[in-house]
Symmetry: C2
Subunit: 342 residues, 2 copies
């Protein structure tokens, strides 16, 4: 079944393609009678505009691209949900790609999206990404770009983030408040800005409370990916290295849960011997035992807001307005659970 075109409607009604096109778009310079007739015929024939032709004419695809490090991940899948829902409301569809924390893949995917002529790109950076040419290329060819969560401070574009430093400070302060004196930190990989900021928040809380900052208590993830296994490995190493630890602040819930699993296996009591705070408030954190104290990171909100900013830029770009980049900082909160009850 070949799809219906404007031409077929025009022929059927014995009028011009121009008039059909205008009638369907409710141009006032077409008579009401003609408009009605065209509308009826179109719906009778189940006419759907050929979006390929529309794209070519309007130079818009009404599609945006999203690049995310991992899809199977509570936080990121919440972000996806927020973006897709918000985009749909405004008539945009979302192409989703997963960079797998790889810089090379991320670069290729940016290229892919640009060559598809998406109307805008949303991205959360791969852990590996330390060079930002590919992002600047997006900006220089005037495709709107919004970064969220895992951002590069140096790139000039709109951003949606949380205050990682503040949140980490809050988490560490909480451990101190309940009496911890020797607090370790699993900071994740070296590069990403949030790892850096969470580490800095941790360090500052220690110093502000006159606790010694001991670099040997900070565990870095070399593999680049934050996993359950990583948590187990670090916890096991920590127990070997340091007998006197009474608190751990961990970069991500999944890693924290891995760490707790290992600690419990080795006979450590949580929170009696060691208190643990995670980060992100994955659903899991509330149902394991002991339940995990963590920082709530609003994924859905982040997704919605990222799309909103992108949408604004798309509109502004269309009107040839100059764009003022915005940096939106979303609120986080400490969710206290059993892993830190004192």
């Amino acid at each position: 079944m070949a799809l219906v075109t404007l031409k077929q409607i025009a022929e059927k009604l014995g009028i011009s393609i121009t008039t059909v096109s205008k009638a369907l778009k409710e141009y006032p310079d077409v008579s009401k009678k003609t408009r009605k007739l065209v509308r009826e015929t179109a719906s009778m024939l189940n006419y759907k505009p050929n979006s390929f032709a529309v794209n070519l004419r309007t130079k818009e695809s009404k599609i945006i691209g999203l690049i995310i490090p991992v899809i199977v991940h509570h936080f990121f899948s919440s972000v996806i949900k927020g973006i897709v829902a918000q985009a749909e409301k405004k008539g945009y569809l979302v192409i989703i790609l997963q960079s797998n924390e790889s810089y090379e893949l991320e670069k290729k995917q940016i290229d892919l999206l640009l060559s598809k002529r998406v109307d805008g790109i949303l991205i959360s950076l791969a852990n590996e990404t330390a060079d930002f040419k590919h992002l600047n290329q997006v900006i220089s060819q005037e495709t709107p770009l919004v970064m969220f969560d895992k951002i590069a401070k140096i790139v000039k574009c709109s951003k949606v983030i949380i205050d990682d430093r503040k949140a980490a400070y809050k988490a560490t302060q909480h451990l101190i408040d309940i009496g911890c004196k020797r607090i370790a930190h699993f900071r994740g990989p070296l590069l990403p800005q949030n790892s850096i900021d969470r580490f800095l928040g941790y360090k500052k809380a220690l110093i502000d409370n006159n606790l010694e900052y001991d670099p040997s208590l900070v565990y870095i993830c070399e593999c680049g990916e934050m996993s359950f296994e990583e948590g187990k490995k670090n916890a096991s190493q920590l127990l070997k290295d340091h007998k006197d630890i009474d608190g751990i602040f961990i970069n991500t819930d999944l890693v924290a849960i891995g760490a707790m699993t290992e600690l419990i296996k080795q006979g450590v009591k949580i929170p009696e011997d060691i208190s643990v705070v995670g980060f992100s408030n994955w659903f899991m954190a509330s149902i394991i035992s002991p339940s995990l104290t963590t920082i709530n990171q609003p994924g859905l909100e982040m997704g919605k807001n990222s799309f909103k900013l992108l949408y604004k830029e798309i509109k502004e770009r269309k009107k040839k307005k100059t764009i003022n980049y915005k940096e939106l900082v979303l609120e986080t909160e400490l969710v206290i659970r059993d892993s830190t009850k004192n």
Copy 2:
């Protein structure tokens, strides 16, 4: 910065657009010298074909659509990952939409994807969906369609599924094998085919083992969405209704985990008093305590295979071949953990 077109390359080199186009596609009827020259100029000018124009000419978008009931969901996000990865390998991008288990939304989204002229559609049905006109419409306009996991048996198209009945039978048989005599079932909502099949597998296992099938032990989810809360609610009701239960087979891990949480809260010992088996093998199932026995449902594989089938259909459709619909049944396995140790 305006984007480079074939015309600009042609003008720069003083040759025709036709030749440039052919040279870039490595047509053998263009001299090697010209091909090289064009290639170099194109890459110098950073030429990227305008995909809008290409789409219009070739009538292909190289984009497929994916409709899924929920995104924030361990099983489905694994499926997404599999699809996106496989599609990328073949040069396809994936638009993802979430139906929220709503029939109306699902219908709208099908329309949206069709009007975007995607090259094919992958779908896992909403729980609400009981009418399949929208799917038949896809098929009748010759857009390849593959259903996975939550399918409609009656719709004629390719499918990727597991044998829900067999898996549920295995799960129930396991409960019987460890000595359970009164086994309840949380079957989820009424409509979806997998709920029906899992229920039938449960029932058959009971009957084959000469255990009484008691309909009052089957709990249906009215709200339509399978949630943690649903599990708690059903478990609480179950404890009120029946004192003699010693096993529960639950439709989905998330619900099973909710149920276990409630059971434990009410002082029930798992597995000593009641053994529990879930379904799907969410990551969570392995880390809660007691860890949850469940059926492993291969999400990543399902995603990959769904795309592969769709891809095959897209190719066949292009060659005007008749399409033989396939039904691929993936293997599942019982993963025995602490919630059923006897």
